[in-house]
């Protein structure tokens, strides 16, 4: 249901709004013809892409294709785009769905690797900072994380590529993604720097969150109880303190991760990784509406699913939320 609303909204943004600001079917079609195109060619393409039809019909056709598929005339041949057919690219003459499926592992690789790194880094730095509040470690960690939060990925990404890949030659240059199934070592080598750069940004944020959360929970009565039981300080911090501080972080993590699965746009752009984010950017740059629609819907799907999982996990993590 939610996905339907999102799809309709996205469809509206890319198809309805241009109409409202005065674009004709021809001006829409102009984007998909060459620079030497005659008005006849433009008309032909507008007709072929269905731009003359009423908007509801265009949307209906698009939704129908998702469930039953659609056929596309390629001149010499006709291609059937089987369900779920999330549109057919005007420009690359490819069904969108297989491309999305093809791009997903890249984004998934990037997101999972970076998430592991940033959780490890963020949680440990944040916890140590909170426990040694005001110490040199705390202050330098928080300065570092402020820097990490404020420096955008296209800056850290470019600089780190320049330093680690092109000057020191330690890491892979941009655009060297290799699928895990082909070569796990090359896969990791190519993703190492993107992981680190993406993780840096997030770990900075998570360090701050963890620190704040830990400072709050470490002042709770149950921490005093844990100490009064004679628990080792490490157990007090981790099993009692961190465990409670983790809950809100889990929520944010779920949402961040879901958002990231829709495409780590900047990271993929800077490192030329062929993931969903890069796909979205390229689709928007080329005005390839079916691709834009497809990738938007996919991203929305991940965010919705991530929300759902977070809600479920919340009940697992916090017994007070459980029903009954």
């Amino acid at each position: 249901m939610l996905l339907f609303i999102i799809s309709a909204a996205t469809f509206g943004i890319f198809y309805l709004i241009p109409r409202l600001v005065g674009a004709t079917p021809e001006t829409l079609a102009t984007r998909y013809v060459g620079r030497a195109a005659t008005p006849e060619t433009v008309h032909l393409i507008a007709e072929k892409l269905g731009f003359y039809d009423p908007l509801w019909l265009q949307y209906g056709r698009w939704v129908k294709a998702i469930f039953v598929g659609a056929d596309y005339n390629l001149g010499a041949t006709v291609e059937h785009c089987p369900a779920p057919c999330f549109g057919y690219s005007f420009i690359t003459k490819q069904p969108v769905w297989p491309e999305l499926v093809d791009r997903l592992p890249v984004t998934l690789s990037l997101a999972i690797g970076a998430a592991i790194l940033w959780l490890l880094l963020g949680l440990s730095i944040g916890t140590l900072s909170a426990l040694r509040r005001g110490s040199f470690l705390d202050r330098s960690a928080m300065t570092f994380s402020l820097a990490g939060v404020s420096m955008p990925i296209f800056f850290t990404g470019m600089v780190s590529l320049l330093v680690f890949s092109y000057t020191l030659d330690w890491t892979a240059p941009g655009g060297s993604y290799t699928p895990f199934t082909e070569s796990p070592s090359e896969w990791a080598y190519a993703l190492l720097l993107p992981w680190l750069v993406l993780a840096l940004q997030f770990s900075a944020q998570y360090a701050r969150l963890t620190r704040a959360g830990m400072l709050e929970t470490m002042g709770e009565d149950y921490i005093r109880t844990a100490r009064a039981k004679g628990l080792r300080e490490r157990d007090v911090n981790v099993k009692h303190g961190l465990r409670a501080a983790l809950t809100p972080i889990l929520t944010i993590f779920g949402l961040d991760f879901g958002l990231l699965l829709g495409g780590a746009v900047l990271t993929e752009q800077v490192f030329s990784l062929p993931g969903l984010g890069k796909y979205a950017v390229d689709a928007i740059t080329n005005n390839d509406l079916p691709k834009v629609l497809g990738v938007t819907l996919m991203a929305a799907f991940f965010v919705v699913v991530a929300n759902l999982i977070v809600d479920l996990l919340y009940a697992v993590v916090d017994p007070r939320v459980r029903l009954g």
Partner: protein
């Protein structure tokens, strides 16, 4: 006992917290003794230093931003100078604590059983299964029905009284010789309060432990304590047996406490006579007697009250100590002629 020492002996205990605004003297030279099987009530308003005292004994304070001095002898061992890990090993084992609000004092994400098992296994190298059996036994002993089932419940699934019983079970799981209860009944309603106090009384007898009850409520003290220590501004201002405190108290502050004590035989609107004024700042204690700004009899000290800190001196009862400038006779006369009749009116 070596050197004729008591089971618990606190000597000149000072706990200070240096802050940006000045040094907070939460506990400033406290002395008392307690034997096993006996109960000491520490009474005072919030901020009098009574809770800090108990945490100090347990060694739960931030070692980086607090200064502690003096001696605490527990069963012949000195705790203040002992290593943190040595004290930790005593904590929960030799000495345990029951906290005020069991809802916030128990971890919301772990079952009651888990928390008791955890307390047991810190000090006993046993399997989880054994520890769990122990926890169920313990829950049964503190009067929780169907303990084998409730052991897997979370704290929020317990009622207030049940939670406090579980808390007591957790504190007693290692048979501690010293039990400190910090406002053990404050968060509970009246009928449950009585049950919990009965329970503590019985268990103390059963385990033969020394019990410190920290409270602002003299009613609790009347119920449980053998001796009473009244704290004000981080110091002891009156120390006596419970009987003496109720029959011949000599400090004006104690009189005030007695006046504010709820009593069943009087209607609600009359039974609370609060002490005028507010507790002193622990950073800037009033000059002279800390209680002087609130003391009705301050002018009778001839100016001493605002200039000289009174010493803790012997008073009328046996083992009775009072920190007051007024002469003993005058204090006794005031109690008999002015205060007591008003309280009983």
């Amino acid at each position: 006992m070596p050197d004729g020492q008591a089971f618990l002996e606190v000597k000149d205990l000072k706990i200070h917290f240096p802050t940006d605004d000045g040094v907070v003297r939460s506990v400033d030279g406290l002395n008392f003794k307690l034997e096993r099987g006996k109960t000491l009530g520490i009474v005072g308003e919030s901020g009098s230093g009574k809770s800090v005292t108990s945490l100090g004994i347990l060694g739960i304070y931030n070692h980086r931003n607090s200064k502690i001095s003096g001696e605490i002898w527990l069963d012949g061992k000195e705790i203040v100078s002992a290593s943190q890990d040595d004290v930790r090993k005593l904590r929960g084992n030799q000495m345990a604590m029951i906290f005020q609000d069991p809802l916030s004092a128990m971890h919301p994400y772990y079952t009651v059983g888990h928390q008791i098992v955890e307390a047991y296994r810190v000090h006993h190298n046993v399997s989880k299964k054994v520890a769990r059996k122990h926890a169920v036994d313990m829950l049964g002993r503190v009067g929780i029905p169907q303990p084998d089932r409730r052991v897997d419940d979370y704290p929020h699934q317990f009622s207030g009284g049940m939670r406090q019983r579980a808390m007591i079970a957790m504190a007693l799981v290692n048979d501690p010789h010293l039990l400190i209860a910090d406002e053990p009944t404050t968060a509970l309603d009246v009928t449950v309060q009585a049950q919990i106090m009965d329970l503590m009384h019985d268990l103390q007898a059963e385990f033969n432990s020394a019990l410190i009850v920290i409270t602002h409520d003299l009613g609790v003290v009347a119920e449980l304590a053998d001796d009473v220590l009244v704290m004000y501004g981080g110091r002891c201002i009156e120390y006596a047996s419970a009987a003496t405190i109720f029959e011949q108290p000599e400090h004006p502050y104690t009189w005030g406490l007695l006046g504010s004590m709820p009593r069943m035989d009087r209607p609600v609107q009359e039974r609370l006579v609060p002490i005028a004024g507010s507790p002193p700042s622990l950073i800037n204690l009033p000059k002279g007697c800390a209680f002087s700004p609130r003391c009705v009899y301050e002018e009778r000290t001839g100016g001493l009250g605002t200039t000289v800190v009174p010493e803790l001196t012997r008073a009328g009862g046996t083992n009775h100590l009072v920190r007051c400038h007024l002469p003993t006779e005058e204090r006794q006369r005031l109690w008999v002629e002015e205060v007591k009749p008003k309280l009983e009116a």
